[in-house]
Amino acid sequence: MNIQEMILTLQNHWSNQGCLLMQAYDTEKGAGTMSPMTLLRSLGPEPWNVAYVEPSRRPADGRYGQNPNRLYQHHQFQVIMKPSPDNIQELYLESLEALGIDPKKHDIRFVEDNWENPTLGAAGLGWEVWLDGMEITQFTYFQQIGGLEARPVSAEITYGLERLASYIQDKENVFELEWTDGVTVGDIFAQPEYEHSVYTFEASDEKMLFDLFSTYEQEAQRIMEQGLVFPAYDYVLKCSHTFNLLDAKGVISVTERTGYISRVRNLARKIAKTYVEERERLGFPMLKEEESNHE
């Protein structure tokens, strides 16, 4: 099964479970969790079920396209179900079967792994899912987001698409994976991997990045004060990616680092709080819809 078919299979599976199929969010980010489709929507009482592919950038993991396992940018398939259904583990295991993984022929385990993102004031409990010893999925019950308690609790399922594909396609090198028949990951991503690595570690303009960071941060602050949650959050994401670029280049000193993280965290908290307040002001519209559906 090629990656494209995997994505289609997962989309079908989760669509059948009532998930909205969204597209990747158009701002650089380190993980699917950071998309507002997850981070903001998992706040507050409104139900929310969604699935999407998220290209995730981790500048520090760039290896010039030379390492068979590490990428500047990889792909996550992200699922959020709020509130988490009672059979969420079974739904997940069914998705593996849909991908052609027969649990009886393998060793699938749920191994404790708790997730925490201090910058976003977020934390959850759950597992990493092992397939014959390989971690293929992060499975998390959100407990806290943006410093607020998550109620009801969302279940987050994050498949590492390249990892999973390397197992399904039995390939050792990520660049040999088939995206679709006859087209490999290498064909599509080798050049950007190389160039982004050169940019990240050698060619980036540090001064400009530092300036951008401050500009983005100030803009986030400014529009946050006007209660514009989504635009403010976009600028937080831009701050985060700029920070990651600077960090990967090793130009952030200790004091700066602590300062940046705590400033972004405070922003994220404010955004989370305001988001919930805004939704409340709107009367939690999706909650109403849900209720009327039941009537």
Binding site: D107, Y141, Q143
Partner: protein
């Protein structure tokens, strides 16, 4: 007729590290619950897998035993009025006991007659009482709890089903809308949803569903399979007990499998390979009979033998990627130089208030310098100690240690060799983390010991300075273990440095650095107290009596080995009849000296020979005594001190200490204070409970 009771709580996969404790709690709380509810039973058996916690209680009676008891009411004269009719008090009492006035009889208690009734309490039906068993499950505590869905309960993991059976009868109750029944679930993939017909068939029913519910049976099963594989292959597995426990808690139906990896990875230090196999993959590494690490690994699958080759092949692939990482780290880490790596330490935070790791290293260097001087190291050794201090943390910036924190020091030593550092210096990098666990080995070399003490002192003094002091079970930075490590290292090597001197040295450094610390004196007092408590703990571990430990530590920890010797000496003296007159003399001095205002002596104020003589003897023993203490010869010091006993007794026999004349009185008290100071230098003898008998 008695029957068995079974309760099973079905959950999403519990963290392996929770399970042992949860099972112990479940058993203990069940014992308590049965006792509180007065239900007779024979035995309690606990079960636990990643997906279930269960308890079976055998030989449970159908009902609580009936109780017959006599209830005592008001006195007869209050119970009957003048005409011999029952009063309100008597009626109220009998009603309160669920009885009637006709049931009342009188009985004398301590000469007075009181109203009594015989009460009969019928035992309740066990099946009724068991409906409250949910409180046992809800009383379990876990290191971390979570919520799920829209529910309110916080628990280790979501609860998905429950079984409650008394014989073959369901005990109904519910937790978070999950209701008890007879249904349970077998192995996630090999088993299915199944009914437990009756409590006694729990284990058997589950085995058919590929679940071994008993932790012990599962562990034994794994161990047997591992042993069998060992003998078949002629291997020696590295059988880590903790790993075995963890693996037992990760599977419901264990099947052992083995795989191999390419020989080329064996060039990576075996510590790194072993850690990668154990920590990342929960594999048992393999040695040859000769003891060499060989390119195989053994894992435990949650399932049966079917498709075991597929599982093994998948695991081989994962391990290969892991080992490639380790190999890559090992090669990368050898690039550059130690100095280049040290530079990076200035970008790593040690503790927000206490600066970077580079700052910490600077302090370690300074402390190491002082210590090397105090311990009289020769110039070359001092130079090596300094170098070891400079580079003791360099491996923290290597990729290998970044990946496997527990290899800190271990990799430092290996890389230091590769970078051409001196043998002793390299070894000290590894040793300075010792002891690595409670009661672990202390550093074996002098340089390793010194850097170890310097590093730990810096951590403790720094932490306490900013208010991080362990309380109760909270000691996230392991400060207690580190303090014990310092004391154990000092003792093992016989270093004659008073602990207080060490503390004060580092304390001084911190206050010169102008860090945002707490009040200087408060910190110092806290530090002395912290170490004193650790010293007392170590001494009591050696079975020294608490009063003697207190007596010697009241004089400070000093040179710890000497202090321990003092304590052993006093343990003997406690029962030594010939010592009685010594401790009585010295003890009396300690009592009276509390009244002294100064220890200035004016010899012209002496009024009799005995006090003059006492002063002379004091002058003659004082210096030798102090010298013996400082040289760590407590036995000689105590003999020297004992020379004062005779003169003290004679002094008290002939001299009125609390003389009328104020000057004479102060002079005498002053003399006693001089002596008392020496006694305290040895120990607070009055804290000891003496047991000499003639």
């Amino acid at each position: 007729m008695s029957k068995s009771v079974l309760f099973e709580l079905g959950v999403e996969e519990l963290p392996a590290r929770f399970i042992d404790d949860a099972l112990a709690q479940l058993k203990a709380k069940t014992v308590q619950w049965m006792a509180d509810n007065r239900i007779p039973y024979t035995d309690i058996i606990g079960y636990a897998t990643p997906r279930r916690l269960a308890v079976k209680i055998t030989g449970v009676e159908e009902k609580q035993p009936d109780i017959e008891e006599e209830a005592k009411g008001p006195a007869k004269k209050i119970a009957l009025d003048e005409e011999g009719n029952w009063t309100k008090a008597a009626i109220g009492f009998s009603k309160g006991q669920g009885k009637d006035v006709d049931d009342i009889y009188f009985k004398e208690v301590k000469g007075t007659e009181y109203v009594h009734v015989n009460k009969f309490i019928e035992g309740e039906a066990t099946s009724q009482l068991l409906q409250n068993f949910r409180e046992v499950f809800l009383a379990l505590t876990f290191p971390k709890n979570m919520r799920w869905g829209s529910r309110d309960l916080r628990y280790a993991r979501p609860i998905r089903w429950m079984v409650g059976l008394f014989g073959d009868e369901v005990i109904p109750f519910s937790i978070e809308s999950v209701e008890t029944g007879k249904r349970t679930f077998g192995h996630r993939f090999l088993g299915e949803e199944i009914v437990i017909e009756e409590a006694d068939r729990y284990e058997d029913t589950l085995v058919d569903q590929y679940v071994i519910a008993s932790v012990d049976k599962r562990r034994t099963e794994i161990l047997n399979q591992l042993k069998q594989l060992e003998s078949e292959q002629g291997w020696k597995l590295i059988l880590d007990e903790e790993l075995l426990d963890e693996v037992t808690h990760l599977v419901e139906y264990p099947t052992v499998f083995s795989g191999s990896f390419s020989k080329e990875f064996l060039e990576v230090p075996e510590e790194a390979l072993i850690t990668s196999m154990k920590e990342h993959q929960r594999y048992f590494p393999v040695r040859s009979v000769q003891g060499d690490l060989i390119p195989y690994f053994v894992g435990v699958r949650n399932g049966d033998e079917q498709y075991l080759d597929v599982v093994a092949r998948g695991n081989e692939k994962v391990l290969k990627a892991r080992l490639k990482d380790a190999q890559f780290f090992y090669e990368e880490d050898q690039k550059g130089s130690i100095d280049g790596k040290l530079e990076k330490l200035s970008r790593m935070v040690y503790q927000e208030e206490l600066g970077t790791l580079a700052d910490k290293v600077q302090r370690i260097i300074a402390i190491t310098g002082k210590l090397s001087e105090w311990l009289g190291l020769d110039e070359e050794q001092q130079r090596k100690a300094k170098r070891a201090a400079e580079i003791c943390k360099f491996d923290l910036v290597t990729q290998m240690v970044d990946e496997f924190t527990e290899l800190q020091g271990v990799m430092g030593e290996k890389y230091a060799h590769i970078f051409g550092e001196d043998e002793e210096v390299a070894k000290a990098i590894n040793e300075h983390y010792m002891p690595r666990q409670a009661n672990g080995a202390v550093p074996s070399t002098t340089i390793g010991s010194i850097v170890s003490i310097a590093d730990k002192l810096d951590t403790i003094v720094g932490s306490v300075s900013i208010g991080i002091i362990p309380t109760g079970s909270q000691d996230p930075y392991g400060l207690r273990r580190q303090a014990l490590g310092i004391l154990q290292t000092l003792t093992a090597h016989g270093y004659s440095v008073p602990v207080e001197k060490l503390i004060d040295l580092v304390h001084q450094f911190y206050f010169e650095l102008d860090l945002p610390t707490r009040n200087e004196k408060e910190v110092r007092d806290d530090l002395h107290e912290f170490f004193r408590v650790r010293a007392a703990y170590l001494m009591r571990e050696e079975r020294m009596d608490p009063d003697i430990v207190e007596a010697v530590l009241n004089s400070g920890i000093g040179i710890f080995s000497t202090t321990k010797e003092k304590a052993s000496l006093l343990v003997e003296k406690r029962f030594d009849p010939t010592f009685k007159h010594v401790h009585e003399a010295l003890g009396r001095v300690l009592n009276l000296a509390e009244k002294a205002e100064s220890s200035n002596i004016d010899e012209s104020l002496f009024e009799n020979e005995k006090e003059r003589k006492l002063y002379e003897v004091y002058l003659s023993i004082h210096e030798p005594f102090i010298k013996e203490i400082q040289e760590g010869r407590p036995s000689s010091a105590l003999s020297t001190l004992s020379e004062l006993a005779g003169p003290i007794h004679e002094f008290f026999d002939t001299t009125m200490v609390m003389a009328e004349d104020e000057k004479v009185r102060h002079n005498r008290l002053g003399l006693l204070k001089l002596i008392a100071d020496d006694v305290y230098t040895f120990a607070d003898l009055n804290a000891i409970e003496w047991k000499q008998q003639f």
